[in-house]
């Protein structure tokens, strides 16, 4: 017996995408398998590690805990969408590069999306706030030292880029 399928329409990184999925299809699997956006990674599939974090209408969510059908009609931003309009690295990505904020890179997309959303909320975090802001994402490689630095550096880059040009 085949599963009932459902129409899903989401805006992913600014592009309208449609899919025809079973009700149980996870948003993460929908993004990865149906849309081919494999930048979103699955580290635990039970909502703890945060590698699968994407932005749902700008807010970070665990895409392993949401069904694709639940995202119907919403806007999703994945790590692929955290670049600038001209395709250069976004502020958070650039900061991770400069600060050596990643090693294996597997958890990184979840940090990039999480921090991208956080800096909208708090554009000038202290170091303590930066550490707290990433406190829901696991990284097994870096010991977080350089990720904390990257949060602060990303805030700087964001301010530099947003400053009106002379």
């Amino acid at each position: 017996m085949s599963e009932q399928r459902h129409q899903v329409t989401v805006t992913v990184n600014g592009v309208t995408r449609r899919g025809d999925v079973p009700a149980r299809r996870l948003l993460a699997d929908f993004l990865r398998m149906d849309l081919g956006l494999t930048g979103t990674h699955l580290g635990c599939e039970h909502g703890v590690c945060g590698a699968c974090t994407v932005l749902l209408d700008g807010a970070p969510v665990r895409s392993c805990l949401i069904f694709a059908v639940s995202a119907d009609g919403h806007e999703i931003t994945t790590v692929e969408g955290c670049v600038e309009d001209d395709d250069q690295l976004g502020p958070v990505q650039q900061a991770f590069l400069e600060c050596h904020g990643l090693q294996c890179g597997f958890c990184t997309p979840g940090f990039i999306t999480t921090i991208t959303a956080y800096l909208e909320e708090n554009p000038k975090p202290t170091e303590e706030e930066a550490r707290e802001a990433i406190g829901g994402n696991l990284c097994r490689c870096t010991g977080y030292q350089n990720i904390v630095k990257a949060v602060l550096r990303a805030a700087e880059i964001k301010r530099e880029r947003e400053a009106p040009h002379e």
């Binding site: 599963e3 990865r32 081919g36 590690c49 294996c104 890179g105 990184t108 707290e132």
Partner: protein, 792 residues
């Protein structure tokens, strides 16, 4: 002369791709492949009485179900014993699928293949396996008691008993003759590598070409290739194994072939379809590998100044249900336990024991954290007993720089003598003393006490054998575009090899790092390698890249000399800034890319570059083989020994016994540093895992052999809020064993952490007489210790 790239904190070449979400990890590949899922044993020890697959047969998308009965020939045989050892008298390795008996929760019993993973799991959960349960052996106490056996035909649950002595006299006599003696009983609990990406395998069988292409998130693609070929009965040349981007390894992915690495390719061949298996987190907990679990008994004899006269260590090592990776972990513990110290007469005996739990294989540190815990707890106990300063006791026992190379008189894990090549341990301890503020700490302690706070300081030192053989190799090629392609067989899991190996090649060839592309872990590109583990990659592959690039440079000089004509010999030339030029006259030069063109004399001018190389234009004629490329290998005669010391300040809550790390300091010596930014990152990551192992992470089995915390909700990997700020200082004692002077750095951070944290907590609690003999330690355990209850 352009500036050298080795030693520069260059940004990583691999990062832009990874940061854009363009990494290609195992599960990002093979869209459209069939998916495999496994039925795994829910019980720790049992005979399988029946497997009923009937309920699964009408699941939509089901393609195949395999049990042990379906496995042919060599695939039905036990998996190989990868590292045999004469002392491993009772080895037992698992089967790809259980052959009638299961020996741990998570052991694979049935393989299901379906059109997608959801459906494969649907089918798997409808398969009913009946078990006749046997009493399980859980934990070292039960294994030692041997009232129950894991394997009925292995007496006492003993896989191996191994004894080493250092040839410096009889240890019993030395301890008996010493002015003072102490005995310590210690334990370290189980933990695990826990990379953020689990394991995974994707197989593609090309029936027309009769070739098998396997992607695996392994730490050794070359050895997986040979193992798969052997198991499937294919000529090795019909099998290629590619390691894509890998989301961390930390040891668990060096084990091979995993059952899935055999079964997935086998299924792909049988079905004529691509098959993929991606491990989920629970599977990783219950079917990958763990480490660390040991009990130790230490007897030590020492003099009035704390100098060791004799050290006798007994180790009981939990190896889990099988020993596919041999007894490497307890060998490393027994040998690396000695650290930077001279211990007088030394005898170590380990017993490696079977239990009905997941296999135990190296996890970052690979037995060293346990050994360092033993040695450093001993140092602290001696200091406490004699009323001496803990650092002073350590200093009294140090090997001195003028004693290098220092032969510890043991055989190391690589079968070679345990000879420390270089090191300056007195400087190392002096540096940690200063960095952590050892001398001023009593004032800090007093100031804290005034506020009702209790703080403590601890230190621990280690020596780490790195860069072991047998070898690594590399192929270096200069393309006619000027791009340098470096291919090495070893794999990468985040260590930055795309950058560090490029730095080494760039220096030898006089080019920019941006011009160098590094390929790792792809047997289509380089077939000879050992693997990435044991802090060996940069030492072995780095030197191999230098050898290969050196050969290319010499070849470039010969061809350039011929091209530059009369009066220029190869010896007159150097490679600088992408040119091959005369040392005495930089204007007499030829572009390296032109040399690459000339290196391959052509008949056909298919593009502008080729036109310059046709036989009527070429000035080559050096007798060299075509192509500006070379292969080089580095084969170390033995391991090179890195070292470090950690200093920690902790605060313990007087009421709740909460434990907080206030400062974490690291002095680290890995010889010549290729990229300080990357080495620092390795140290950070290691310390974080060490902090996890000291305070949070433990694999917990109940009496029935159920792994009760098999999730990230319950197995507590530190978040950013649990890892302290890490202060680092580096020193360099170059290795004398390899041309680049390198020592490994991958495992360093994790090795002394439990020992240093234990030392600091004990110090904070010293007025309550708490003795820490077991790690990790939780606040509730510390609370119990304060009440004089044994921490068990």
């Amino acid at each position: 002369m352009s500036e050298k790239h080795v030693g520069q904190p260059l940004l990583r070449k691999e990062d832009p791709r990874l940061l854009r979400g363009q990494g290609r990890y195992l599960d990002d590949l093979g869209r459209g492949a069939l998916a495999a899922a496994f039925v795994r044993s829910p019980v720790a020890h049992a005979r399988i009485t029946d497997i009923d697959v009937s309920g699964a047969l009408d699941v939509e998308g089901l393609v195949a179900i395999y049990t042990y009965e379906d496995l042919p020939d060599r695939i039905a045989e036990p998996l190989p014993l990868l590292i045999p050892h004469p002392d491993l008298t009772h080895p037992r390795t698992p089967h790809c699928l259980a052959d009638g008996e299961v020996n741990h929760v998570g052991e694979a019993v049935v393989m299901v293949v379906a059109t997608d993973r959801y459906l494969a799991e649907d089918a798997a959960e409808r398969i009913v396996v009946s078990y006749d349960e046997l009493p399980p052996v859980v934990g070292i106490d039960q294994a030692r008691a041997a009232e129950r056996l894991v394997h009925a035909d292995i007496p006492g649950n003993v896989a191996a008993v191994s004894v080493q002595e250092n040839g410096k006299g009889d240890v019993r006599e030395a301890i008996a003759a010493a002015p003072h003696r102490l005995t310590l009983d210690l334990a370290i609990e189980r933990s695990a590598s826990m990379p953020m990406e689990g394991k995974g395998v994707l197989a593609h069988w090309d029936a027309d070409d009769r070739t098998l292409r396997v992607h695996s998130s392994t730490q050794t693609s070359t050895s997986v290739r040979l193992a798969v070929a052997a198991k499937l009965g294919l000529p090795p040349d019909r099998v290629e194994v590619i390691t894509p981007d890998v989301g961390g390894g930390f040891g668990v992915k060096i084990v091979h072939p995993w059952p899935e690495e055999i079964l997935v390719p086998w299924a792909a061949m049988r079905l004529g379809r691509d098959v993929k298996w991606v491990e989920d987190r629970r599977e990783h907990f219950v079917s990958a590998a763990h480490e660390r679990g040991q009990q130790q008994r230490i007897e030590v004899g020492f003099d009035d100044s704390g100098r060791l006269r004799g050290l006798s260590v007994e180790i009981w090592h939990d190896n889990g249900a099988y020993v596919p990776y041999g007894i490497i972990v307890p060998i490393v513990t027994s040998t690396q336990l000695l650290g930077p110290y001279k211990v007088g007469a030394y005898r170590v005996e380990f017993t490696s024991l079977y239990t009905n739990t997941v296999i135990v294989t190296p996890y970052r540190g690979a037995g060293r954290p346990q050994g360092v815990f033993a040695m450093e707890r001993t140092m602290d106990a001696i200091a406490e007993y004699l009323g001496l300063d803990r650092l002073a006791v350590r200093e009294a026992n140090l090997i001195q720089p003028d004693e290098m190379p220092y032969d510890q008189g043991l055989v190391f894990q690589d079968g070679r003598p345990l000879i420390y090549d270089t090191g300056d341990y007195p400087t190392m301890l002096r540096m940690i003393r200063e960095l952590v503020g050892w001398d001023g700490f009593e004032a800090e302690r007093a100031a804290a006490a005034v506020e009702g706070r209790r703080i403590g300081i601890g230190v621990a030192a280690y020596v780490e054998g790195t860069g072991m053989g047998p070898y690594e190799g590399a192929h270096v090629k200069v393309e006619t575009t000027g791009e340098i392609v470096v291919s090495t067989g070893l794999t990468t899991q985040g260590q930055g090899h795309y950058t560090t190996l490029a730095q080494i090649a760039a220096d030898v060839l006089g080019v920019a790092v941006a011009d160098v592309t590094v390929v790792t872990g792809d047997t289509r590109r380089f077939k000879y390698a050992v693997g990435t583990f044991a802090s060996r990659a940069i030492v072995t592959s780095g030197n191999a890249v230098a050898v290969a690039a050196g050969k290319v440079a010499e070849k470039a000089k010969r061809i350039a000399a011929a091209a530059l004509g009369e009066g220029t010999a190869a010896e007159d030339l150097e490679l600088v800034e992408g040119m091959v030029r005369r040392r005495d006259d930089p204007t007499t030069a030829i572009d390296l890319r032109t040399v690459a063109v000339l290196s391959n004399p052509l008949r056909y001018a298919f593009d502008e570059a080729a036109k310059a190389a046709t036989q009527f234009a070429s000035a080559a004629g050096t007798g060299d083989e075509p192509g500006l490329e070379a292969t080089g290998f580095y084969m170390p005669e033995r391991s090179t020994f890195a070292a470090g010391a950690h200093g920690v300040v902790v605060e313990t809550d007087p009421d709740t016994a909460d434990i907080r790390i206030l400062r974490y300091c690291v002095v680290h010596d890995c010889g010549v540093v290729v990229n300080p930014r990357i080495v620092e990152g390795q140290v950070h990551g290691g310390v974080a895992q060490g902090v996890g192992g000291a305070l949070y992470e433990r694999i917990v089995y109940d009496d029935a052999g159920q792994l009760v915390n098999a999730s990230y909700m319950d197995f507590l990997i530190p978040f950013s809020t649990e890892v302290p700020q890490i202060e680092t200082a580096h020193m360099v004692t170059a290795s004398g064993l390899n041309p680049l002077g390198l020592k490994g750095a991958g495992e360093a951070g994790v090795i002394p952490t439990s020992a240093a944290v234990a030392s600091a907590i004990e110090d904070a609690e010293r007025d309550r007489g708490v003795a820490i003999r077991r790690m990790p330690i939780s606040p509730s355990e510390l609370y119990e210790l304060r009440k004089g209850r044994v921490h068990a």
